[in-house]
Amino acid sequence: MLSLDLFANAIVAGVLLGGFYAAVAIGLAIAFGQLDIVNIAHPAFVIVGSYIAYIVNTHFGLDPVLIGVLVAPVFFLVGVGIYRIYYAAFERTGQESLSGLAFFFGLMFIIEVVLILVYGVDYRLVRAGYIGETIEVGFVGIPLRMLVPFVVAITCTSAIYLYLSRTFTGRAILAVAQDRLALQLMGADPVRIKQFAFGLAIATTAIAGSLLIIIGPVEPSVGRLYIGRVFAIVVLGGMGSISGMFIAALILGIVETLVATFMGPSWAPAVAFGLLLLTLAVRPAGLLGR
């Protein structure tokens, strides 16, 4: 039953998948973990990123990763705009818990329906030279369509980790979560910092979206499966801890691949949500919680 090469292949595939999950979840780790903005629409923005990669790739043949990087500044501005609405309508009046949640839920729903209305429910995919190639290391096969997103995801995560821990603005973002008032006394405006950070969080979804469509074909409702995954990763990682988030992403990737390999792919979606419910019930502070 449990053959070694099948197991080794599943572990390698799980690590690669987990790295990609980190790229999807990092934006939420900033928005939900640091800023306390429960952006349920986060995966929907990832799907929008995928569709932009698909459109530009089919028309101009650009590399999906490059498209993601080029589109990220636009997403940043969109994120800033959404935070302004969110701040004016909910955060300032202290209604973010109930109405804010429903706001993002509605936003997610609108994005999904608009994509379905415009592009239908067909699966879309991108073309690039490395998709379909595989490197063989011994009996383990490493498909490049997984390896490329993994490398990009690691780069992206490390860059954000360094940014948050080394630069002034980055540290200010971490400070917003801890003590708003103290930040104000230090001469930084919390609202502007949050606005910038939320823009950054949405900008990462442009890149995550282009990685998602490299890994496999995308249709609008795929985003819903990622809600559980990203929240499971962020909660398990300990709310806003970037390194905890990365470990949690790897754990989820490996467990999900093992379940898909040995129990069948139809059980894989439940893994993330099961993990999330388990974390909430047993250790809500997560792995590296504060």
């Binding site: 818990s97 509605g106 609108i110 139809s266 099961g274």
Partner: protein, 314 residues
């Protein structure tokens, strides 16, 4: 005085429904009204937790679907009559509500919201892999021959749904104005203060989730007999969850009449748009209305009316 006025209204609506089954001949009216009433029960149920207590449930579709699948499974296994299936669905969904509430309601409200989303997907995966009730392929339900003294089965289902809706309205109104309802409102406004003032917050929240779950199960139980074919994708439809949130939010969450107004208004609008324009567009309109109402009129239609009346009195 006010109490009797309410019950007279309930009785008038019930008799009106009965009279309608005698007069109307076009089956479409009953189908459309069934859909609207089903959405009304879902909206009322969502509001018991969302509006009265301030906890957001994104997994309404899961409670609904579990209600439907409880009915399918028990119908297949034991061939129970519909009223017993409804009771069974209420018990099962109430217990699920209690379980999810017990796991997460001690944490921040956000975790409850995310846990309900998670629960919906876990349950959908379970049902998809459960071959007894059809698995991913879905299940066919034969419409029973017996439809009491009504002209057709759909008329009977319509009257059943009307009774269930009126019952839900009565329960919701009772909760809203009772001691329990005031406790829930205290939790919504400031949970820590409520706890300090001696309100048993966890117990009240658990009662609230249990009632919500049971009511959603009740709304889902007759669904298989209404559509005669159920598969996981249609039962766990996100649209059910969106409607359950949008209708109370649009109608107004603080008062028991809010979700009823929202559901009747949005539900009728949806039927008109589905028939005259297209069903995809109608889905989009609900989403847009939800976001607009939350951002611009967080108190809903009830809130707008109250504001208007107050201004006039001044």
């Amino acid at each position: 005085m006010k109490i009797s006025a309410f019950w007279i209204c309930i009785a008038v609506i019930f008799l009106g429904g009965l009279a309608f089954t005698e007069v109307a001949t076009n089956e479409y009216y009953f189908t459309a009204l069934y859909v609207i009433l089903q959405a009304t029960i879902m909206a009322i149920a969502w509001n018991i937790l969302g509006g009265f207590t301030g906890y957001v449930n994104f997994g309404s579709a899961a409670f609904f679907a579990v209600g439907a699948y409880t009915a399918i499974a028990l119908d297949k296994a034991l061939g129970l009559p519909l009223p017993l299936l409804i009771v069974a669905a209420a018990v099962v969904c109430g217990l699920i509500g209690l379980g999810v509430g017990y796991l997460t309601l001690r944490l921040k409200g956000v975790y409850f919201a995310i846990a309900t989303l998670a629960m919906a997907i876990v349950l959908e995966t379970l049902v998809t892999n459960w071959t007894y009730v059809g698995g991913a392929r879905g299940a066919y339900i034969l419409t029973p021959e017996n439809h009491l003294w009504f002209d057709s089965y759909i008329q009977m289902l319509f009257m059943l749904m009307l009774v269930l809706t009126l019952g839900s309205v009565a329960i919701s109104r009772k909760l809203n104005s009772s001691r329990l309802g005031r406790g829930l409102a205290a939790i919504r406004d400031d949970e820590v203060a409520a706890e300090c003032a001696g309100v048993p917050t966890l117990r009240l929240k658990l009662i609230s989730t249990t009632v919500m779950g049971a009511m959603m199960g009740v709304a889902g139980a007759p669904y298989p007999f209404f559509v005669t074919f159920v598969d996981p994708v249609s039962a766990f439809n996100l649209f059910v969850a969106v409607n359950a949130i949008a209708m109370p939010m649009i109608g107004g969450t603080a008062h028991w009449i809010g979700p009823v107004i929202g559901a009747l208004l949005v539900g009728s609008m949806q039927e008109i748009i589905t028939v005259n324009v297209s069903s995809e567009l109608n889905v989009l309109i609900v989403g847009v209305m939800l976001v607009l109402f939350i951002s611009l009129a967080p108190q809903g239609i009830v809130g707008l009316v109250q504001k208007h009346v107050l201004r006039r009195r001044r």
